[in-house]
Amino acid sequence: MQPSIRDLIKKNKSKSSSVNITERVMPIILLLMASFSILVTIAIVFTLLRETIMFFTVVPIWDFLTGTEWFPFFGNDPSYGIWPLVSGTFTIAAIAMIVAVPLGLSSAIYLSEYASEKKRKIIKPILEVLAGVPTVVYGLFALTFVTPLLQVFIPSLPIFNALSPGIVVGIMIIPQVTSLSQEAMNAVPQAMRDGALALGATRLEVALKIVIPGSFSGIVSSLVLALSRAIGETMIVATAAGSTPRLGFNPTESIQTMTAYIVQVSMGDATFGSTIYYSIYAVGMMLFLFTLLMNIIASYFARKYREVY
């Protein structure tokens, strides 16, 4: 009772037609999934844009971009000048970079030029853990440990200040600076190091005169990415920096960043459709544009160093 050849061919044909359908349908489904990420970007830009335009129908865009006072909660006479929030954001970012750049680059040099394979295998996972600590825990750490510690040295430091969260944001981005810079340094060919060492250079000279110039654009890229993260960081500053929008760069005062303002409004009871409600989109738009610009600059430099080797 074996099936005839004809039946077998028929069976195979019907099977292969169903195979054919999957072959044709799956790429389309996968393409749609891949296109979804573009939809997300469009949605982000569209929502930010729409609500920001609503905001600018109430508050003139010129006042927003040039104003130096940010008092949205002054019932009768609110003022929406973005600069205090921008200066707060950049105070935090500057302190963070002052902490993260020297420490992060030094450890990148150590890991890439000095450390043995064994030490690297111990150190890198520890840095990964440091990178994996949730920002809200860092915020608690800044508020209940770093601030009191700083107050020992600066007795006049208020509980909410820019210095403590700035330092902690810096600590948070150290692992990112280290791992991305180390990656760039690793891309420098070993032959170049060997050549310098053979000419009698010390490891320090190799690092400073061969490796860093050779991976310069990659290092710049990692620093710009880290800066972008410091600008977008929310929970640490919302916990420990206070909520006093203030124009200036004094790290020992309470300030407010763009992100912290958005958090403050979302936790309060700003009614849907009020000017304050729309203002968070305008601030979010600024934040989005800043970080987008940073990311574009970073990927420009990253591409440059990838082209070299």
């Binding site: 072959e23 790429p27 996968l30 393409l31 999934m33 891949a34 979804f36 990420s37 573009i38 997300v40 970007t41 949605a43 982000i44 929502t47 930010l48 609500e51 020297p102 030094s106 450890s107 040099i109 150590y110 890991l111 030029e113 000095y114 150190i123 853990v129 440091l130 600590v133 949730p134 920002t135 809200v136 825990v137 915020g139 608690l140 750490f141 508020l143 209940t144 440990f145 600590i171 280290t178 010390t202 490891r203 320090l204 972008s228 977008g232 929310t234 929970m235 919302a238 916990t239 958005i262 958090v263 979302s266 979010g284 934040l287 989005f288 987008l292 990311n295 574009i296 970073a298 990927s299």
Partner: protein, 292 residues
Amino acid sequence: MNEKRIVIDDKKINRRRMYNKTGQVLFFLSTVFGMIVLATLLVRIFTQGFDYLNWDFLTSYASRRPEDAGIKAAIAGTVWVMGITIPVSLVLGVGTALYLEEYAAKNKFTHFIELNLSNLAGVPSIVFGLLGLTVFVRTFAMGRSILAGGLTMSLLILPIIVVASKESIRSIPQEQYEAAYAMGATKWQIIKTVVLPAATPGILTGAILSLSRAVGETASLLMIGAMAFIAYLPDSIFSSFTVLPIQIFNWAGRPQAAFQSVAAAGSIVLLVILIAMNSVAIIIRNKYTKRY
């Protein structure tokens, strides 16, 4: 004359050696600094929160009195949100990665998708929160629900899952494909029977790592309106909710020192969960990843 020059060179070499040694020590100390901070943070959070950490803390709801406060609702909320985020982000992420690695032609559109993904990865999470608030909470009228929170979180970690999945798929050697083609397999059959099984450990590792980021994520859910004072367990994906990090943030912001200790206790639980997730990811990576 000759001897003198050698002596001078000696001095110079010694100086250069000294610089090298100093540099090495400085670089090493900078590396150690990060570890010291991590150790300080862990010890600090642990000693601060240890007194409040007990079985009651895990099984009671939030409270106005610090000694009665617990994280039952927060843990339940985290689990529910992950229940939405895991399937959505995995399906979308792996699908995108498969398309980019297996089907996409090297054209401008593909390049645009890749560029777009890397830019999305750099968007601050609070901006994703604004997106979720507008699109999910308002436009699709999901309200301040678990569903809205879970979907927002999926979008947030999507770029990370795509990158991890792509790397895992790319590491499959060409011979595997060729062998399958030689057996007469079609493209989709190869993906189903060769690519996905071989890439699964890598995808899982990446997925767990990005989910651990989602578990600790606060800002975007704060925008969605996850509340901190919830005295019931969610019963559907449309329930309002709170999650562990938001509960911690709420306690940390209170003026009483006791509540900050409660926040530290919550942080211990959060860190333990994250370390457990990371350990699982590392075990999968070490045990199941094939080396070709």
